[in-house]
C-alpha cells in the first residue's frame, strides 16, 4: 500500500495552499486517493497558514495528521511549530533562504534548500513554493515528478496559464537540488 502524508506551512502568501492543492490533484490524477485540508491562522492576514495532504492507494481515513511523515517548512515560525511534531522516521524540507541552519534539530532528517534564492535565479521569486515541493517529491518519492507537473494544468488558474512552464521549471529545480 502506498501512503504519504505531509504538512506544508509558511506565511500567508508563500503559496503553501497552492502546492498542497497541486499535490492532492496530482495524486488524484494518478488514480490514488487524496485529501487536502487547510488551516488558516484565524488571527490575521499575513499570518501563518498550513495545510495537510494525504495521498494513499487505500481510501483516506483521517485527513488530520499530528505527527506527519514529512513537512515543507517555508518560514521560521512554521519550523518552530512543526519540527518537534515531525515523525521520527519523517523528513522535513526546510527553506534555507529564510531560516538559519542553527534552528534545525540535528536528529531530524532534513533537506535544507534555499528555495527563495533558487526561485530568484529562475527569475520567478514567487515560486519558492514549487522549488520546495520539487525537493519534497525527490525526498519522498510520493509521486512521479511528471505527474505533479501535469497537475499544474488543473491547479493553476487559466488566468496564469502562461506561467505553467515556469512553475514546472521551479519544480524541476527543487527536484534536482543536491544539498
Amino acid at each position: 500500500m502506498a501512503y504519504h502524508n505531509v504538512i506544508m506551512a509558511g506565511f500567508g502568501g508563500q503559496g503553501v495552499m497552492l502546492i498542497g492543492n497541486l499535490l492532492a490533484q496530482a495524486g488524484m490524477e494518478e488514480g490514488l486517493n487524496a485529501t487536502f485540508i487547510p488551516v488558516y491562522g484565524v488571527e490575521m492576514r499575513g499570518g501563518t497558514a498550513n495545510c495537510t495532504v494525504v495521498v494513499s492507494s487505500d481510501p483516506v481515513g483521517s485527513p488530520i495528521i499530528k505527527r506527519p511523515l514529512a513537512t515543507i517548512i517555508m518560514n521560521l515560525p512554521s519550523l518552530e511549530k512543526f519540527q518537534p511534531r515531525l515523525h521520527p522516521d519523517g523528513v522535513q524540507i526546510v527553506n534555507a533562504s529564510l531560516i538559519e541552519k542553527s534552528n534545525l534539530d540535528p536528529a531530524k532528517k532534513t533537506v535544507f534548500i534555499p528555495a527563495n534564492d533558487m526561485a530568484n535565479e529562475l527569475g520567478a521569486p514567487k515560486l519558492a513554493n514549487m522549488v520546495a515541493l520539487g525537493a519534497y517529491i525527490k525526498a519522498t518519492g510520493c509521486l512521479p515528478i511528471e505527474a505533479v507537473e501535469r497537475a499544474l494544468n488543473h491547479t493553476i488558474s487559466s488566468h496564469y496559464a502562461h506561467l505553467i512552464p515556469l512553475n514546472a521549471k521551479a519544480l524541476q529545480a527543487g527536484y534536482s537540488f543536491k544539498g
Binding site: F36, P38, P63, I64, K66
Partner: protein, 354 residues
C-alpha cells in the same frame, strides 16, 4: 456529466450535487464554515435554470424554503448551527405540513457563536427534532466529500418520498476538506409524486390546503399518529457502514468526520493485533438501532467516539440496552484530533498496547 473525478471541498460537492439532483431553488444567509455552498450555487444554480436567493436572515431562508417545497419544487438551504437555531420554526411547520426540503448544516462549535472549528455538538438538535412539537427530520451524516455529493442527491428523493425536511449534518472538517469526487447523474432518481398535493395554482381542481394547525376534536392526535408512523417507515432507508465488526471484540461507533478518523484508528489497532471494528451510522435519524443490537447480542463491547460530550452515546445505549452498555470517549468541539489520539482510548479498552 463527466465521469472524471474532480478535487473539491465537501461544501462544493454539496452544491454540485444539489444542481445535479434537480434543485431549482436555494435560499441562504452566509455563515462560516459553509460559505462555499452558496458561493458555488450563486453561479451554477442560475445557469441551470434555478433561482438563487440570499435571504435577509435564516428565518427568511427557512420560510422561503417552506414556500418552494409547498409548490412541489426541489429546494435547499444551507447554514451552520446558529442558523439552524433560527430556522427551527420553519422546520417545525414543514414537518407539520408535510413539506419536503433539504437543509444542510455544516456545523461549528458552540454553544452561542462558539467558533468556526469542527464540532459534532449539533447531534441532539439534529436528531431530537430541534424544534417544538415532537417533529423529526430524516438526518444524513456524510463522512467524505463523495458522501456529501451522494447523500445530498439522495436527500431530495427522501424528502419527497416521505414529504419531510431532510437534514444533512456535516461539520467544518467535511465542509473544508478537499477530496476527489465523482460527479454523476442521480443513480436512482425517484419520481417526486407531488402532483397530488402541491399548491401550484388550482385552476379547475378542488382547493388544497397545506397546514400544520389541527384544532378539530381528535385531529391533532390523528396527525401525530400519522407522523409517528412515517418516522417508523423511514427506517427502510437507514444506512450504516461497518468495517471489521464480524470478529471484533470492541466495536467503535462514530459518525461523520470522527467516523473517518476513527476508521484510521481502528486500522492502527488491527495492525497492532487487536480485534476492533467500526460501526459508522450514515443516517442518524432514523438510527441503525437494530444493526447495533445485533452486534450487542453477539457479546461485543462498544466504544462511542464523538466530538462532543456524549450525544449519539444515548442512541447507542438505547439500542444495545438489553445486552450491553457503551463506553465513551469525547473530543471537545473546536480542536482537531488525529488517528493516534483516538487509538489511545481504544487500546486502553483492549488492555493496553501489545
Amino acid at each position: 456529466m463527466s465521469d472524471e473525478r474532480i478535487l473539491i471541498k465537501g461544501n462544493e460537492a454539496v452544491a454540485y450535487a444539489a444542481v445535479s439532483a434537480g434543485c431549482k431553488c436555494f435560499f441562504g444567509y452566509p455563515i462560516t464554515p459553509q460559505n462555499e455552498i452558496p458561493e458555488v450555487l450563486s453561479k451554477i444554480l442560475p445557469e441551470s435554470g434555478g433561482e438563487f436567493v440570499q435571504a435577509e436572515s435564516e428565518v427568511g431562508s427557512a420560510n422561503m424554503l417552506l414556500g418552494a417545497g409547498a409548490c412541489g419544487v426541489r429546494a435547499m438551504t444551507s447554514t451552520s448551527g446558529p442558523g439552524i437555531d433560527l430556522m427551527q420554526e420553519g422546520i417545525s411547520y414543514m414537518i407539520g405540513s408535510q413539506i419536503p426540503a433539504v437543509i444542510v448544516n455544516m456545523s461549528r462549535g458552540g454553544p452561542g457563536l462558539g467558533s468556526i472549528d469542527a464540532s459534532q455538538a449539533d447531534y441532539f438538535q439534529a436528531t431530537r427534532g430541534g424544534s417544538h412539537g415532537a417533529g423529526r427530520t430524516f438526518v444524513f451524516a456524510p463522512s467524505t466529500c463523495q458522501e456529501c455529493y451522494d447523500m445530498v442527491q439522495d436527500a431530495f428523493d427522501i424528502a419527497f418520498k416521505y414529504r419531510t425536511p431532510v437534514l444533512v449534518l456535516g461539520d467544518a472538517i467535511i465542509g473544508q476538506l478537499k477530496e476527489p469526487v465523482l460527479r454523476h447523474a442521480p443513480r436512482n432518481k425517484q419520481d417526486d409524486k407531488a402532483e397530488g398535493w402541491r399548491v401550484e395554482g388550482m385552476g379547475d381542481r378542488a382547493p388544497r390546503l397545506l397546514k400544520s394547525v389541527y384544532l378539530e376534536d381528535g385531529a391533532l392526535a390523528a396527525r401525530n399518529e400519522m407522523l409517528e408512523a412515517k418516522y417508523k417507515a423511514m427506517r427502510a432507508d437507514i444506512r450504516v457502514e461497518t468495517i471489521d465488526t464480524e470478529d471484533a471484540d470492541l466495536v467503535v461507533v462514530a459518525f461523520g468526520s470522527m467516523g473517518r478518523i476513527a476508521r484510521s484508528a481502528v486500522q492502527l489497532a488491527r495492525e497492532a493485533g487487536h480485534k476492533v471494528g467500526l460501526f459508522r451510522p450514515q443516517t442518524l435519524f432514523p438510527f441503525p438501532s437494530e444493526q447495533l443490537e445485533e452486534l450487542a447480542k453477539q457479546g461485543k463491547r462498544f466504544l462511542v467516539i464523538e466530538q462532543n460530550a456524549g450525544q449519539m452515546l444515548d442512541d447507542v445505549r438505547l439500542a444495545i440496552r438489553h445486552y450491553a452498555d457503551a463506553d465513551f470517549f469525547g473530543v471537545m468541539p473546536g480542536i482537531f484530533v488525529d488517528a493516534e489520539e483516538l487509538l489511545t482510548p481504544i487500546l486502553e479498552r483492549m488492555g493496553g498496547a501489545k
